[in-house]
Symmetry: C2
Subunit: 728 residues, 2 copies
């Protein structure tokens, strides 16, 4: 992709090598050099993105590998994965049935099998999401799966002990309550069958049948509650906390170990890249890399890097201005590249350029002063609060609906004023989340309201879709209130920082849900029917399945909780994750199939509620603790120090929150008009969002632990740690 | 209490002082010396038990303080607290109504107030449990309360943001669903009133009304589930995890700080004690304490310490055998005393002494060999498994009931054989939990079964109480199976170690429950009536209150869930803690009183589920992580090292569990008969149970951090950290 750039860069010595310390420059860039640069580029970008693929170092392979790592190819892979997963929407049972010719091949194979008498279940669908896990880009997800796999033995032992406890309690329950002739609320015998007792007590662990399962015994005698209190304390609280503790400590341990390995592998790759480009030029004859080669390499690795940014990086590495850097400095390149640096250019306002006299007139100055004043923010907070009350009122009242226009005008005015007072490119800088948020919400609301009233006046239109969107947009405006309270902003920022971690978890849960949805659809599709509310079918009362007659499932009108397509399957699984009424859903689906269907639901509970949700809590706990307890100064990179040293940093309001320091600078309040006077025209800002994820933090933590001296040239001991999970 | 011991101990120099380095011995122990020893004793025992009372150092006060710290006085305090708290059982509404003359005084005051027209609520009852918090011994509890108080501001901010989120979601719900004319399952309008929506969505956070609250919207349109999915992800999972993270990180931070302060205060007290007893005798003239004085002090502090144990402690401190110790060694005494050391005396079996030839006969040897063989344990595991099956069978079957006698005989035989093969005092050593467990269970079961069958044969007796106990004892026998699987034993041992921490939490929950129970009784007593199941009263259907007619509360027969006495109040509060059907209970009690009663239940949810339960999970997490991640070798005390050095340690089977090392030695399998040959007759073993609680571990962790050099003589900077919580 960057072959044609080569002649432009600093020319390089042809016989570049370890022993060559000379400065002889040749304008002929040899193929060998190109190949070396290609390979070095691969090493550096692998190091930067923590890729651990093993590849052949021959020039052709390297070029193919570079192609494979191109963003287009990677996007293609994701598109294929999404298409593959989305097939579930169109396959039988389908949300959107496909035209028959598209499903033809699938149908012929499946149909052929079925017609020849084979019992065909498309189990391949269950395994589909594993593609997401096994692709190179599923690193984070793979790591999460590995953490789970590594924690499994420990979880299994605690789970077995927990099950032992449930079995023993069930035996006591059988002996205590079985012969007393007690009845449950629906008149069936209470605690007489051992297997049912075990199931009921397992359900109690999910808390879904509390306190109903206790009531018959409690009504009989107060002292029987001791049994249930012990059960709740031991099996709900102690064991469930224990599961969290096991998951959390294992997750932490394995994550640390993996990150340690990653850091080692990254060092190793950077050393490889260094040895490709090195030349012996230092004082003691130690190998170094020249600035020219380094510049060329950086351009190859990150083609769209700005010159200012590249120069900043070089000045960080070559802090003594020697013109070349040693191995220790070179190795840091991968880390530096993965830190997002925002280049803030302090430019004059376009109106200032076009109409300087107008922009600097007293009126204009006063407007800018007002907009940047603290009271401006407070006045708009008040407006939002008043708006909140109006939203709560009945919108059919003409006063309310007219007021809405007033609010819209006020909000538009705010944005226009801010754009007048602040340089538009600075206002819409990528990291100014709230500016983007405001503008999008307000402009959409404006359009929505206009379209809605136009349709209304043209008459006839009664659909509420657009109105719904307008209402939601109106309410979303209120969220901006959060931003004006410092403490809230800090919490929100912590949540935003935890975001990437939650996304990894989101992928994990999609994979697990998908597998369970596929199995659930095979087991339960069509067993429970949903009838539209205005349907007059007599089957509606028992969800179209006589087996459900009189069940709580049908009584509570749960007919739409079924596995008839992938969307409703996901919703049922979400309900099962929230756990409440777990036993009602379970008994509904066992009623229409077989008692053994309980296994599916228990398995789902174990996998999702006991393991995955605890992993999620562990994620959040760890992210929060790292955010909260790790000393910030330890993590300030050399880059940040350099930026500060050069006085090129964008001033951030020190939001002393106690939770985290604020991520967003308060540019709303401090416009560039005053600030620009003293500041240089080009400034940098570390986009902390990405570099301070849990992984990033852990990596930096371990990097301080691993001594810079021991750069091993050997392969890291455990090179196969990045292999997909499911092949061993 | 030990004044009369004084003449017996090593005599001490009369003019003991800093400048006196001589060895002149006087047999006259002066009053001054006694007073000094009293004061030193107070300092050491305060250091040992982490007491931080400020007291006058005058001799009289010190003697009174010693009396106050006597175990009898402390027990008395606890008895008073329990009696005070137990008053709730007898007061109106009472579980056991007291004879009128006992409640006379209470009644006169309360009655007088009431008859003179004052509205009398005995709010003092609500404050009663605070006595438990404020007493000197409630240290742990106070610390927990302080942790909560310190975490409150942070929790409050997250809670406010969470409530903001609930309010915004409610507004969206009102706008989206309010005008659609949807109906809930019981026919009432769906999401039309803002306050009700907020309540319903708050209930959804407790998960108690999932998925019912979603069903009308879901039945109307699939896309409405997006609203609920977002709500569940944000408000249930993210915010609830966030609460845990905030509670956990604050709990950890404050606990560490407190322990650091405790360690400092302890050092300070030991230094005080040292300066009272020191004399300048070291090489450089530095102050030391002689063995004689030390012995006397230890006897005063711990009167029932064995001579062997005392000598072991001295040998740890005076490891160069100088006959005196410096300040550094002296300060360690408090820590050493708080480590429980079990003195294991290897004695010959009593039968061996009485009938040596019989005990050493080939048959006897063979029996002992068999009992100590691994197969013996396995055979009994098998017997227990078979027993488990028999317990599950119908006990009215004569085969089963006769088999029970067989099992009892087998278990008795096991205990007798073990007692024959193992020295009885070693068998019943305090730390052999499972031996005690077995013996108590089996002997009780034997007596129970005999009494039961005797009563049965004498005819007429149909009560099931004894039979119930016998059944429970039978099932409890099965628990022993856990002990034979190493991994399970390790988990159980971790649980046992976490035990003391859980007990502190138990006190905390009792205090909070008590307060809520008292308030609940004032608010709801007598509002919901329970009728015995065989009652024929027509009021039974609606719990004696017409307001409950047709409510889910009455339909589910929740009449016994009421606040009519303190026991049922506690049970209702437990049900509210488990959260399921939270809204049914809440709506029941609001139906019989007023809608504002919701405040009581929401407050309970915030305090118990959001704060207290998270504290509990934090407790367990921290205890588990400390158990699991702290390097064991760091924590091995000098005492353990010394015991190992002297080769006086009891061999423990290295149960390599990965979770924790096993607490109990496998004496069952390794009898003393073989082992005694090589071992010395007196051995020590660290009872790890107590010294490895979270506090103990944290203390040791911080002790390594605080350098031994900086023994400040000054008061620790923040001396008032131990003051009761509620006075500031």
């Amino acid at each position: 992709m960057s072959e044609n750039e080569k002649p432009k860069v600093h020319t390089l010595s042809k016989d570049e090598g370890l022993t060559n310390g000379g400065n002889n420059v040749s304008s002929n860039v040899s193929d060998e050099m190109t190949e070396k640069f290609d390979l070095a580029t691969v090493y550096v970008s692998d190091a930067q993105y923590n890729r651990n693929s093993v590849f052949d170092t021959s020039p052709q392979t390297v070029r193919l590998y570079l192609l494979y790592n191109h963003w287009f190819m990677q996007t293609l892979v994701y598109v294929f994965i999404i298409v593959n997963l989305a097939l579930a929407l169109f396959e039988d049972p389908a949300v959107v049935p496909l035209p028959i010719w598209l499903s033809f091949i699938d149908l012929t194979i499946y149909g052929a099998l079925k017609s020849t008498g084979y019992f065909a279940i498309r189990w391949s669908r269950v395994l589909r999401p594993l593609l997401l896990v096994n692709v190179t880009e599923g690193r984070q997800l793979r790591r999460a799966f590995r953490s789970i796999r590594n924690a499994l033995p420990q979880i299994a032992y605690v789970f077995l002990l927990f099950m032992f406890s449930v079995l023993v309690f069930s035996l006591v329950a059988l002996k205590l309550f079985g012969k007393r002739g007690l009845l449950t609320i629906d008149g069936s015998p209470y605690f007489t069958d051992y297997v049912d007792i075990v199931f009921d007590l397992y359900v109690l662990v999910t808390t879904a049948n509390s306190p109903d399962v206790m009531m018959p015994a409690y009504n009989y005698s107060d002292s029987f509650t001791i049994f249930f209190i012990l059960y709740i304390v031991i099996n709900i609280y102690t064991f469930m906390s224990f599961f969290l503790a096991v998951v959390y400590s294992n997750y932490k341990k394995h994550l640390k170990e993996e990150v340690r390995q990653l850091v080692k592998a990254r060092r190793f790759k950077m050393c490889r890249a260094f040895s490709l480009l090195q030349e012996a030029r230092g004082e003691g004859g130690e190998p170094v890399v020249t600035q020219a080669k380094w510049n060329h390499l950086v351009k190859l690795v990150k083609p769209n890097i700005s010159i200012a940014h590249r120069e900043l990086l070089w000045s960080v590495l070559d802090d003594q201005n020697k013109g070349h850097i040693g191995k220790f400095a070179f190795v840091q390149l991968a880390d530096l590249l993965s830190i997002q640096v925002i280049t803030v250019k302090s430019q004059p306002h376009p109106i200032h350029i076009c109409f300087p006299s107008m922009y600097n007139s007293p009126v204009s100055r006063f407007i800018r002063y007002v907009v940047h004043h603290r009271m401006f923010v407070h006045v708009y907070d008040l407006i939002i609060l008043v708006n909140a009350v109006f939203i709560g009122l009945d919108e059919e009242n003409p006063v309310v609906s007219n007021a809405e226009w007033g609010f819209l005008v006020l909000y538009m005015l705010e944005i226009i004023l801010k754009l007048y007072a602040t340089e538009p490119r600075a206002f819409f800088a990528r990291h100014h989340f709230w500016n983007w948020f405001d503008t999008i919400i307000i402009v959409s609301a404006l359009f929505g309201t206009i379209i809605n009233s136009a349709l209304k006046h043209s008459g006839g239109y009664t659909g509420r879709q657009i109105l719904d969107i307008v209402f939601i947009l109106r309410v979303l405006r209120l969220i901006r209130l959060v931003d004006t309270i410092k403490r809230f902003r800090a919490i929100i920022n912590t949540l935003i920082k935890i975001g990437p971690t939650i996304l990894t978890f989101g992928q994990l849960i999609v994979v697990v849900y998908y597998i369970f949805a596929m199995v659930g659809m095979e087991l339960f599709k069509g067993k429970v029917q949903f009838f539209e509310p205005n349907s007059t079918s007599p089957d509606q009362e028992y969800c179209g399945n006589p087996l459900l007659k009189g069940t709580t499932f049908a009584k509570l009108n749960y007919c739409k909780n079924n596995f008839n397509n992938v969307v409703s399957s996901f919703i049922v699984l979400l309900e099962l994750t929230v756990v409440n009424q777990w036993h009602v859903l379970t008994s509904g689906f066992t009623a229409v199939t077989h008692i053994s269907a309980r296994i599916f639901f228990i398995l789902f509970h174990i996998v999702v509620v006991i393991i995955i949700i605890n992993i999620f809590v562990a994620f959040i706990l760890e992210a929060f603790l790292v955010e909260y307890t790790v000393d910030k100064s330890d993590l300030q990179t050399s880059l940040e120090k350099k930026i500060e040293e050069l006085e090129l940093n964008v001033q951030q309001d020190g939001v002393d929150t106690g939770l985290v320091d604020a991520m967003e600078s308060n540019d709303n309040e401090l416009g560039p008009s005053e600030a620009a006077k003293q500041k240089p025209s080009l400034m940098f800002k570390i986009a902390s969002r990405r570099s301070r994820t849990v992984d990033g933090l852990l990596q930096r933590m371990f990097e301080t632990e691993i001594h810079p001296e021991d750069f091993e040239e050997e392969e890291p001991e455990n090179i196969n740690f990045s292999n997909p999970v499911f092949d061993s």
